[in-house]
Amino acid sequence: MITYEWLYALAGAAFALWALLSVRERRWGNAGFWALLAASFLLGSHVSDLMNGLLVLAMVAIAGGGGLTRSDPPTTTPQERQLLSERLGNRLFLPALVVPLIAVAGTLLYNYTPFSETGLFEARRETLILFGVGVVAALMSAIAWLRPPLLAPAEEGRRLLDSIGWAAILPQMLAALGAVFALAGVGEIIGSLAGDIIPRGSVFLTVVVFALGMALFTVIMGNAFAAFPVMAAAIGIPLLVQQYGGNPAVIGAVGMLAGFCGTLLTPMAANFNIVPAALLALKDQHGVIRQQIGTALPLLVCNIVIIYVGAFLLWN
């Protein structure tokens, strides 16, 4: 049976290669960070929880100490890229399309044909495993087609990875935070508090509080990802899913999108809202946010309606 461990071996190998390439450039912080992440993927299932915990603390120490820097591996010049793009045309999009095609078509084929009876994939893990298959297939076909230098795919990947930096593990860390919240009983505490504030049994009002909370926390923190474990532990899971029996898929997915409405409204999300105003030399630093208010607010209302209808009216 193919499990996540296969995928983790693949990812571990990729991060190990990126760590080695960083060593070659004497970027010790990057090398250490990506090597620790590679160790987590390759060995995480075989070492103790305490070892994994110490590994997390070590990675955070490197990131918090400013140890990660952007890298600048050798690549093509803008002029070369212009010429190549004219020669290769729209075919350049094809390798990128291979990935979702294999993952989605593969999932459907696996689940709706007798294939699923073979038990080839670990239950519920087939899509992400097929994503890995799609990436390998896309990479192989792109290499066969474009014939880059041997190390070019790894170096181009490292250029992108180092531009993301420590943010690459932030979602995983936030999910871990959600698990610690669950362990510490944060949901039960808030559930008991909210029970006093929200009229008992008012599903719609609770949906409104959940969606507004996602948007508001995102406005304050500038990051919907950070708001998500908080609001899921506070209201989404204990009240909407457990008490009222809502559909967890809708509550999770559309709850996150309610948070994205908050991202459109906040100067804290500088990369999206403040940096473009500067890039475009706008007189008003908040000009981009001003143009987004009229979309974000009605869309937030849409999200509330979608959660209420999708997670409760259609589900029960």
Binding site: L7, Y8, L10, A11, A14, S40, F41, S48, M51, N52, G53, V60, A63, L84, E86, L92, F93, P95, A96, V99, V104, V135, L139, I143, A154, E156, G157, L161, A167, L170, P171, Q172, M173, A175, L177, A179, V180, A182, V186, M221, G222, F225, F228, V230, A249, G252, A253, L257, F260, T263, F272, P276, L282, K283, G287, V288, Q291, Q292, G294, C302
Partner: protein, 223 residues
């Protein structure tokens, strides 16, 4: 019941708001929450290590970077620009609506780096929108020009945010999966990402409608 574990939530909110390194904020909040709930520090570090390890699949998505990087090396961004330039000649409203659709569709297919503010909005979408508006509505005040450029940037954000979650192998979808799985509700990424579609349609209708109304308003202002 003790309310002290809620301090962890406050640490996340304040830490992000004060712009501390987010990884340190999150780990600090996790350790504080666990200790305040009555666990000893080593037990909390163990729990954090186990939870981090259990959620490794969220970070797996980066293995796509060599594919994207290799395509960029061969002119992917330049090709995307050529597609956007092909929209020249349209009115400002139609141009931005077409860009919104392009950004939503490519993000939904996992190509969220096609577009973006430095790569596409500043060099291409904003100047093209401004030029199209001037062509149709005559000379515009600096205030109106700024509004057009801001609308171009807003369109990029809306297209990205409400397209990307349709792609299942993206951090936000897997984060949702991880948080719900830790709480005892296992789901698949496709089960979640399919629910991004209704909001994506609403976003296209609302923002597209606002763009067209904005274009009409500019026309009425100077007949």
């Amino acid at each position: 019941m003790s309310y002290w574990p809620l301090l962890g939530i406050a640490i996340v909110v304040v830490g992000f708001a004060l712009r501390f390194n987010p990884l340190m904020v999150v780990v600090g909040a996790a350790l504080a929450t666990g200790v305040l709930a009555g666990f000893d520090l080593v037990a909390v570090i163990k729990a954090l290590g186990k939870a981090f390890n259990d959620n490794r699949y969220i970070t797996v998505t980066w293995i796509i970077l060599p594919v994207i990087g290799l395509l960029e090396r061969n002119g992917l961004q330049q090709r995307a620009r050529a597609v956007i330039e092909g929209m020249r000649g349209a009115t400002m409203g139609r141009l931005l609506v077409a860009y919104l659709a392009l950004r939503q569709l490519t993000s939904a297919l996992g190509m969220k780096d096609i577009g973006g503010h430095p790569q596409a909005v500043r060099p291409l979408v904003a100047p093209m929108a401004e030029a199209a508006a001037i062509k149709n509505h005559g000379d515009l005040s600096e205030e109106d020009r700024d509004k057009i450029k801001a609308m171009a940037a807003a369109t990029d954000n809306v297209g990205l945010f409400f397209g990307e979650d349709i792609f299942f192998a993206i951090a936000s979808i897997l984060l949702i999966q991880g948080v719900f799985e830790s709480a005892g509700y296992p789901m698949t990424p496709l089960q979640l990402s399919i629910w991004a579609i209704p909001t994506a349609i609403c976003a296209f209708v609302i923002h597209g409608g606002r763009i067209l109304a904005f274009d009409r308003r500019l026309g009425r202002a100077r007949p």
